[in-house]
Structure formats: structure tokens, C-alpha cells
């Protein structure tokens, strides 16, 4: 799997997102162009969570892996950090029926990720947060 390791800082966000987008640009699968736009959103939301919350002193890395399995037509994105334990799947989902006045500010990003991707998996292993996102195409 192609891998990139960068300091978890907002100034590196664009480079980290582009690493993933450039990597699957040349793959062939149904609905690619539409998915690439949504994948930018998925990457941003997942990486920004780590940048903002993983490292209390603000210093630490994000490791990014991705893969596209031609056999299964499946895209996988894996993000690893060594920050505080954080399971995004435990965050309460936003109530989409509430009007703007009553909306909670949190939980939107992970909700977007779950909406776009087919599968979101979280593991805590060896003091690492491992977030694996995948989507299968027709």
C-alpha cells in the first residue's frame, strides 16, 4: 500500500489529501469522477479530526495508507495516529431533522464519512488509533 507520514498539522492537510486523490486518479472504476470529489471530503474530515484532537500538545504524526483492489473494485483508506484514544464511531450522530437554531456543531464530519463510505472501522492497537474506511464500486 502506498504510504505517507506527515506531521498532523493543518498546513499539511492539502498535501495529505492530494496524496490520496492523485493515487487513485489513474484507476478505472464506475463513478470515479463523482467519487473523487466526495473522497476529498472524506479525507479532509478524517484527517482534520486527527489534526485537531489526537495530540494534546499538538505534536505527532498521521500515517496514511490507501489501496484500490482491482479484483474487488474496492478502495481502502487507512489512517493511523498515536494520539489519545478516539473512536469516531462513538460520536453521537447529528439529528438531521433539527433546524439550524438547534443543531449541534459536532459530529458532522464523521457523519459525512459514514454516509459516503460503505464501511468505517476503528481499532485501538499498540497505543494507535487505526481508522479504516472502504468503499466497493459496481
Amino acid at each position: 500500500m502506498p504510504k505517507l507520514k506527515k506531521a498532523a498539522k493543518m498546513e499539511n492537510l492539502e498535501q495529505m489529501i492530494n496524496f490520496v486523490l492523485e493515487g487513485i486518479k489513474n484507476k478505472n472504476f464506475n463513478g470515479k469522477n463523482k467519487f473523487l470529489k466526495k473522497l476529498r471530503l472524506v479525507c479532509e474530515e478524517a484527517m482534520v479530526n486527527i489534526i485537531n484532537y489526537a495530540y494534546e500538545d499538538g505534536v505527532g504524526d498521521i500515517e496514511i495508507f490507501y489501496d484500490f483492489s482491482e479484483e474487488e473494485n474496492m478502495f481502502i483508506l487507512k489512517l493511523i495516529d498515536k494520539g489519545v484514544a478516539f473512536n469516531p464511531l462513538e460520536i453521537k450522530e447529528p439529528d438531521l431533522d433539527l433546524s439550524l437554531e438547534y443543531r449541534q456543531i459536532g459530529g458532522l464530519g464523521i457523519y459525512m464519512i459514514k454516509t459516503i463510505m460503505d464501511n468505517v472501522e476503528y481499532k485501538r492497537e499498540n497505543n494507535q488509533n487505526i481508522l479504516t474506511l472502504s468503499k466497493v464500486f459496481d
Binding site: 492539502e14 470529489k37 479532509e44 433546524s99 439550524l100 437554531e101 458532522l108 457523519y111 459525512m112
Partner: protein, 108 residues
């Protein structure tokens, strides 16, 4: 680095017009929010976001819209004018499309 977001904010008679161009994401949503916060004490009736040239909005940008209603224009109608498909799709994804006034054009 070239700025990913350009914005312009004008307030007159309780109507705020905000033009957004480029990408509204986690790297720049705060700078927009800081500018909008300056309007907190005004009696805002309408907040009109002109987004024809906004190509991308992430959750940080969505939060700016929510914040606009909650902190700046509690009694204001929030307009989204001429959103591109990608932006509209995000609004639908998070269920904000029913609570914003989404139009192709803004009539003064």
C-alpha cells in the same frame, strides 16, 4: 500559497451579503467566522451567502452556516444563492437544505 477561499462581506440595513469563492474548508473557515462575528451586535434580518463560485464545502464550512444562525442572526433567514451541485449535495447530506432558503438568484 494561493488562497483557497476568497470572501467578501457587506452589511447594510440588517442584510448581510457574503460572497464565497473557492473552497471553504477546515484551513480557512475560522477566518470567515472571525469576520462574521464582528456582526454579532447588529440586528441582522437576512444573511445571504452567494456561493455560485464556491466549489467545495467541508463540515467546517457547514458549521459556519450553523453558527451564522445561532450566534449572529438568531432571527435571520439564511439564504444560499446558486450553489453548485457538490455544495448542494453536502447540504442535503447533513439535512440543512430544508432549513436554508436556497435560490438561483437573490431578489433585493
Amino acid at each position: 500559497m494561493e488562497a483557497k477561499l476568497e470572501f467578501n462581506i457587506q452589511e447594510k440595513g440588517g442584510i448581510v451579503k457574503i460572497t464565497l469563492e473557492g473552497q471553504l474548508d477546515a484551513t480557512n473557515a475560522n477566518s470567515l467566522l472571525e469576520e462574521l462575528k464582528k456582526l454579532t451586535d447588529k440586528n441582522i434580518k437576512e444573511m445571504v451567502f452567494f456561493v455560485k463560485n464556491l466549489e467545495y464545502i467541508a463540515s467546517a464550512g457547514v458549521r459556519t452556516l450553523i453558527f451564522s444562525k445561532q450566534k449572529i442572526g438568531k432571527n435571520a433567514d439564511i439564504y444560499l444563492i446558486a450553489p453548485q451541485d457538490e455544495v448542494l449535495e453536502v447540504m442535503k447530506m447533513v439535512g440543512l437544505n430544508n432549513f436554508l432558503i436556497i435560490q438561483d438568484e437573490y431578489n433585493e
